[in-house]
Structures are given as structure tokens and as C-alpha cells.
């Protein structure tokens, strides 16, 4: 049952990713394919018993971030010629090269790391365990991330204000 679900959601995730890359003319359809990938990844996390990660994947990425993408795409109202200019052959070649390189690196780092399935500790992936880890062992990293986000937010408000004035 778990394997059937895993292959189903994995196929959906890959299909969604392909849909996003291949939908060059229609950015909104591309963004919706991205949503499909995000939701399928969330389902795969749940199958791996990382419940909090899975539900946050849907809540934050699929539910909020891609909606903001859509918001921007709709406001910009891109036309064909806006999209066409940057699509030169040399950029495509560089992109393809980078993709192959990344895939190779992932393959190399994964090579030989597959052992027997790990035994999960009690409460693995629950919001309690993640919350405890986040607010005790990793408190400094957590707080500095929030400072970083605050800085980005203040910066974007200042930039937007300047162009308004």
C-alpha cells in the first residue's frame, strides 16, 4: 500500500515538475503544476512519517508561496515577447549543463548510502519533537533566520516606498 502510494505521488511530483518547466507560454498553468509537485512532495513526506514537514509543505509552499507567485504573475501580465527575449540558445545550454551537473552531484553523494531502513525514534516527525528541537538545540539558528526574514521584509518595504514617493 505504502509503495503504491509512493510511486503514485512520485509520478505526480515528476509530472508536475515537467509541467512547470514545459509550460513556458502559460506561466499560470506552470505555477499550478508547481502546486501539484508541492502537494505530492507533502504526501511523500507524510509517507516517510515526517508529518509536520509534510503538512507544512502543503500549508506554506503550496498554500501561500505559490499563491503569491500567482499574484505577481497576474499583476505583471507577461506577454510572449517579454518571455521570449531571455530564451537564447546559449542560456538554454548553460541551464541544461547546470542541471546535468546537479543531477550528477546528487547521484554521486547518494551512491552507496542506501542501507537498511532506519528505526524511527518515538515521536519522530511530530510537531512536539520538531518544536522542542527548534526551541532548544537550534534556537540560535531559528532566531537568526527570523532576523534575516525581518531584514528582507523591512528592505523590501523601504525599496517599495522609495519608488512610490
Amino acid at each position: 500500500m505504502t509503495e503504491v502510494l509512493f510511486y503514485g505521488f512520485a509520478a505526480l511530483a515528476v509530472g508536475g515538475a515537467l509541467g512547470m518547466v514545459l509550460n513556458v507560454r502559460n506561466t499560470v498553468a506552470g505555477a499550478m503544476s508547481l502546486v501539484l509537485t508541492m502537494v505530492s512532495l507533502g504526501a511523500i513526506y507524510v509517507l516517510l512519517e515526517a508529518y509536520l514537514l509534510g503538512v507544512l509543505q502543503v500549508l506554506v509552499y503550496a498554500g501561500a508561496i505559490v499563491v503569491l507567485f500567482l499574484f505577481v504573475v497576474m499583476l505583471l501580465n507577461l506577454r510572449e515577447d517579454d518571455l521570449g527575449a531571455s530564451r537564447q540558445p546559449i542560456l538554454k545550454a548553460v541551464g541544461a549543463g547546470a542541471g546535468v551537473l546537479a543531477l550528477g552531484l546528487v547521484g554521486l553523494s547518494l551512491h552507496g548510502t542506501f542501507g537498511p531502513a532506519a528505526i524511527l525514534p518515538e515521536g519522530f516527525g511530530s510537531y512536539r519533537e520538531v518544536g522542542l528541537a527548534l526551541f532548544t538545540d537550534y534556537l540560535l539558528a531559528f532566531e537568526s533566520t527570523s532576523l534575516l526574514l525581518l531584514g528582507a521584509m523591512v528592505g523590501s518595504v523601504i525599496l517599495a516606498k522609495r519608488s512610490l514617493d
Binding site: V28, A29, G42
Partner: protein, 383 residues
């Protein structure tokens, strides 16, 4: 497996089979009563009008028989997908809502919830966040400027209120110490002393003695009154019904994101909106009105009282029926309450909707988190 399917059938049949058709009739009749009119009473079958109860059936027949139009410039696939994206989240939210407690019949234990998951409330938020796409995609795929304006309003409103909806519940999570909905409902099946803490202060003697012993049901409403108000506001804004219906404000943008939909495809948006009314009722009842619990009459009290006369099996069965009826009674009350608000308050202007969210509800819900934390620390200190 069979048990899960039966529970699923029960909740879906009650909410979608009984509540959903009646709710359009209730809304019209309630509006009519509130505005001193007669209301829907024209649809008849062989001269029988049945108080206008035939109107829902007439509506569905009309919507089904209308032409299904997809505009020429529209993106066909996304245009057809949008109503489904709007409707599905409302249905699947029902999976985690408990419509009764836990009952032990001899060797078998019956949990009256379809999916008892540890992160139940997070599931509700995640599903709710997917509902945004229905409105957003509908407006964009229609290739109509009014529809696009409507979906812009809908997406910004829904994203903003999702943030505050989550924050307004943090206090409640701290009080109950769980995100599991059946556990939250069960925690409310008791009472607490409203002013139980005052005896720790010197000035308690100046108050009448009986005041210290007044007991209230341990409902979320009494433990988190501010949280209740904020959450109810946010979840009603999420549903985009009046007074939060700026995304479909007829006087400004005609009908908003579903202007280019006709027939049953429009009907699906309509259904999603109406279906969310009982779903919101069930959610608010579970979180704040004690779910299936009967005030001042806990499960042990019912079973203990009845089983001494009629036996344990009968007592448990009776308790189950009472609890399920109580739950749907609370849902009906909350549906009435939502309709009351809908016909009382005028539509907010778009900037007022956003100001309410970010300048009023957000600071208040953060303050609620801190006040709740201090009170919990204080009470733990007292022991």
C-alpha cells in the same frame, strides 16, 4: 476499514445530503423573516408549496439544465478545474472533525471521527490554504478583467486571513496542549471554576462566597473568549460570504471571480460557499463550543447514571446518540448565527477588510498568545 467507510458515509450524508440542500432554503427564509417578507414560496409541485421547501430542488434543476459556457478567450482546462478546486477542500475538511466521542462497547471501541490524526488542526489549515486556488484560478482563466479583479481581492483576503486564523488559535492550542481535534473536544467535556483563582488573592473576602464556586463548562469559548471572536471573524472572511464578500462585490466588479461561469459550474462555487457554512459550524463547535459534549453532564455522569438502571450497553448507546445529536444541534445553532451575521452587517470596503486583518486582528491575536501564556504560567505556579 468498514467502520471508517461507514463513518465517512454518515458525516458526508448528513452534511451534504441534509444540511446542504436545506441551507439555501434556511438562508432565504431567515432573510425573509429578518426583513419582514414572506420569502421563497413560489415553487410548487401539483400545487403543494411546502413552505418553499421545493426551491432547492428547483434551483438544482435550473442550474443543471442551463447551457455550460466556456468563454472564447478562456484557458479551457483551468476554467473547468477551478470550481472543483473550490469545492473539494470544503468536503475533505470533514474528515478530521469529531461528531462524537469515544465509546466502549464490550471489546470494541468506537471513535466517532473519520481520521484521528495527531496534527488535525494543521490539516484543516493546509486544506483551507488550498481553497484559495479555486477563486484565483477561476478569475484568471476566465480572461475577464472583472473576474481578475475579483480573484486578486479573493487571494489577498484569503492569504491574509489564513495568517491571523492560525495565530488566533495558538492560545487555544496552549490551553488544550494538543492539535488533535477529538482530544480537544474531549477536554471540553468537563467544568471549571470561573473565579477559582481569586481565592489566592487577599481581596477574595470582599466578594460573595458563592461567586468563587460558579462553574462554567470548560469550553474554548469561556477559556479563550478573545480567541473565539478572532477565529470566527477570520474563518468567516475565509469563506468570502457577506460582510466579507468584497471579492464578489456586485456594485463594483459585477460578480467577481465567478462572473464567467454558468449553469452547474457556477453552481459548484455556490455549493462550495454554502457547504463551508456547516463545515465552519462544525469546526467552531468542536474548537469552542465543546464539540459533542453536553454542558454540566459529562460522559461518565450519563453512563454512570443510566447504566445502574438499564445496563452498560444501553447507557453507552444512549450517550452516543445524545452526543451526536448535541453536536449537530450546536452546528445548527452556528449556521443560524452565521446567517444572522450575514443579513445584519453590510459589506466591508476592500481596504477595510485588509485593515481589520493586519491592524486589528493580528496584534490582538499576538497579544492573546502572550496573555494566555502568562495566565498558564501563573496557574502552574499556584499548582
Amino acid at each position: 476499514m468498514l467502520e471508517t467507510v461507514l463513518k465517512l458515509l454518515f458525516i458526508v450524508l448528513v452534511i451534504m445530503g441534509a444540511f446542504l440542500p436545506l441551507i439555501t432554503w434556511v438562508e432565504r427564509k431567515q432573510a425573509a423573516i429578518m426583513q419582514d417578507r414572506i420569502g421563497a414560496n413560489r415553487a410548487d409541485l401539483f400545487g403543494i408549496r411546502a413552505l418553499g421547501l421545493l426551491h432547492p430542488a428547483a434551483d438544482v434543476l435550473k442550474l443543471l439544465s442551463k447551457e455550460d459556457v466556456v468563454p472564447a478567450g478562456a484557458n479551457r482546462v483551468l476554467h473547468l478545474l477551478a470550481p472543483v478546486l473550490a469545492l473539494v477542500p470544503a468536503i475533505i475538511t470533514l474528515a478530521v472533525i469529531p461528531f462524537g466521542g469515544t465509546y466502549v462497547f464490550g471489546a470494541t471501541t468506537l471513535d466517532l471521527v473519520v481520521a484521528d490524526i495527531d496534527w488535525g488542526m494543521l490539516y484543516v489549515f493546509a486544506v483551507g490554504s488550498i481553497a484559495t486556488y479555486g477563486a484565483v484560478i477561476a478569475g484568471w482563466a476566465s480572461n475577464n478583467n472583472w473576474a481578475l479583479l475579483g480573484s486578486m481581492r479573493a487571494s489577498s483576503q484569503m492569504i491574509s486571513y489564513e495568517v491571523t486564523m492560525g495565530l488566533s488559535l495558538v492560545g487555544l492550542f496552549m490551553v488544550f496542549g494538543t492539535l488533535r481535534l477529538p482530544e480537544m473536544a474531549a477536554a471540553q467535556d468537563t467544568t471549571f471554576r470561573m473565579l477559582g483563582f481569586v481565592e489566592h488573592f487577599g481581596w477574595v473576602e470582599s466578594l460573595p462566597v458563592w461567586l468563587g464556586w460558579v462553574r462554567l463548562p470548560a469550553w474554548g469559548l469561556f477559556l479563550q473568549p478573545l480567541g473565539f471572536l478572532l477565529f470566527l471573524t477570520c474563518i468567516m472572511a475565509e469563506n468570502k460570504r457577506p460582510p466579507f464578500d468584497a471579492p464578489e462585490g456586485e456594485s463594483e466588479i459585477i460578480a467577481g471571480y465567478h462572473i464567467e461561469y454558468s449553469g452547474m459550474r457556477f453552481g459548484l462555487f455556490y455549493t462550495a460557499e454554502f457547504l463551508e457554512v456547516p463545515v465552519i459550524g462544525a469546526l467552531v463547535a468542536t474548537l469552542f463550543l465543546g464539540g459533542w459534549s453536553i454542558p454540566y453532564l459529562s460522559q461518565e455522569a450519563i453512563i454512570g447514571g443510566v447504566s445502574s438502571v438499564f445496563g452498560l450497553g444501553f447507557a453507552t448507546g444512549l450517550c452516543l446518540i445524545l452526543h451526536v445529536s448535541m453536536f449537530f444541534l450546536k452546528v445548527i445553532f452556528l449556521i443560524w448565527f452565521q446567517m444572522l451575521l450575514r443579513w445584519t452587517l453590510p459589506r466591508f470596503r476592500y481596504d477595510q477588510v485588509m485593515d481589520l486583518c493586519w491592524k486589528m486582528i493580528l496584534p490582538l491575536s499576538i497579544a492573546n498568545v502572550f496573555v494566555t501564556a502568562f495566565v498558564i504560567l501563573f496557574l502552574e505556579d499556584l499548582g
